[in-house]
Symmetry: C2
Subunit: 295 residues, 2 copies
């Protein structure tokens, strides 16, 4: 090859090399077809100390618990609820149960609520359709995505959603089927994967997470707020679909299946943004893109 | 087998089965020999808004940066420092650099500080002695422990500490060797494993983590506190060894190598505390036990 051609090729190579793509790029560039609007029936809007927290419900995983959450929101059952437990690197927990006002007796569930939802915290692999993440999972045989949610396939062939940062579960007693959904918790630190298959997962916080994660930590036993610590008041809790048009916010997510999502996963697993690239990523580090729809 | 014998065996089985052991048990029961006192030269005590944060330094990983951190603490370099950046599910960052008082020019480093520490963020496998975790690592070829620290072995044979919750790194510019250690950050959410090998890890918060993680999130670009948000003041920063005897607190950690640690790891990987046991755990979920030594 003549020298001049090599020099030309080299100069072209320099000019033609774009900066390496990072995970944000395919999300920013994704066409509308890669996004899916989240149904306002699947959005719970919760006022925490005057600030808005939005939870996307996951009816596919624990349908009875999710039905209960909608019933509690719609019946005003959570009037007077508080955040009463915050444990660093673990959970923020809320509901009526920890409120001293209800300490003496359990508050009866509202009409239409399922008293004892089944402990259906996983499904058989044969009933699922999973897109593998492509990196190993320390906690299970395989991790992947199903309809916009991270899931793990366990060695016994059961499939469950994964407890990542901001994911919301149903608090319960020692027995696995004791939680109705009236007391909820959100993960505020390291993913709590040991809860997978053991606690009903009902959703994830998609907006206002800092209004749950930056609260003062509880100093009493098990991180419950001690006497003298302020119980954080929860105001109105509603299903987004029930709000007047003007108060509604629309959200969308990017489920697996599109080229944009595939590139997003690839670039997150091989992330060169910080210098030496990663050679993989865990399921909780590949967060399903979610965003507001601006009108 | 006669029926009565079966009945007896069943009743014996019930009586003889102790409750399943959980990860906390071997830590609670560990003999003194399983613990190692942390040198007061390796502890930095930082006053954050009047509350105490204790950081254990990791001199083995980025020795020049750790030497700088001790020099900054001892020279009063951090007088007037603030927490100026808090990003939900990412980092809390502090130092003098983000303080508007120093915005115009970089504060000169104190005498004895290394101006440009090398970007020695990993070591070759041949120079290490790692006890494998025993579960896969999504981000590397293998994860394990070395002298009480979680590490990852990368596919190129390099070894680096892992950015788990509460772990402290050196903020820097876009180039990998630009951080002196004067600006630090701590992980306050999902482990930030994409920083492994790319940012100098200098330690981990072992006490008072909530004083960094529960701070208000910054609302300006990249999570920096906006005008009108309060910069969180950092008061005295010292090396524990320099404090008067009465103000010192002693800490210990449980490094790998003892039967207690081995059982702790095993039970964390096979955790039956919540019902259905886990079949593994990632390196950031198997936190090296650390505690105060009560006199």
């Amino acid at each position: 090859m003549p020298l001049s051609f090599i020099a030309l090729a080299a100069s072209l190579a320099v000019q033609d090399t774009p900066p390496p793509r990072t995970p944000a790029d395919p999300v920013m560039e994704a066409p509308d077809s890669a996004w899916q609007e989240i149904s306002p029936e699947d959005l719970v809007v919760m006022d925490v100390d005057g600030k808005r927290v939005v939870i996307q419900l996951a009816p596919a995983f624990a349908p009875s618990h999710v039905a209960n959450v909608r019933t509690f929101a719609r019946s005003g059952y959570w009037d007077g609820a508080t955040v009463y437990r915050v444990v660093d690197n673990w959970v923020t927990q809320w509901g009526v149960g920890g409120n001293p006002a209800y300490e003496e007796e359990d508050k009866p569930l509202p009409e239409g609520a399922i008293e004892a939802p089944p402990a259906d915290y996983s499904r058989p692999l044969s009933k699922t359709d999973i897109t593998p993440l492509g990196s190993s999972d320390s906690f299970s045989a395989m991790a992947g995505f199903e309809n916009g949610w991270p899931v793990a396939v366990h060695v016994d062939g059961s499939v469950s959603p994964t407890y990542c940062y901001g994911y919301v579960g149903v608090a319960r007693g020692a027995d696995p089927d004791t939680g109705s959904g009236s007391e909820l918790f959100a993960i505020i630190g390291t993913p709590a994967r040991r809860l997978d298959r053991n606690y009903a997962l009902v959703g994830r916080v998609i907006d206002g997470m800092e209004n749950l994660s930056a609260l003062p930590r509880g100093t009493d036993r098990m991180g419950v707020y001690a006497e003298g610590q302020r119980q954080v008041p929860i105001g109105r809790v509603t299903v987004m679909a029930d709000l007047p048009e003007g108060e509604r916010t629309r959200y969308r997510m990017m489920p697996e299946g599109s080229p944009s999502f595939a590139e997003y996963v690839y670039l997150t697993r091989h992330n060169v943004h910080y210098g030496r690239g990663t050679s993989g990523a865990d399921i909780c580090s590949v967060r399903v893109p979610v965003g507001k729809i601006e009108d």
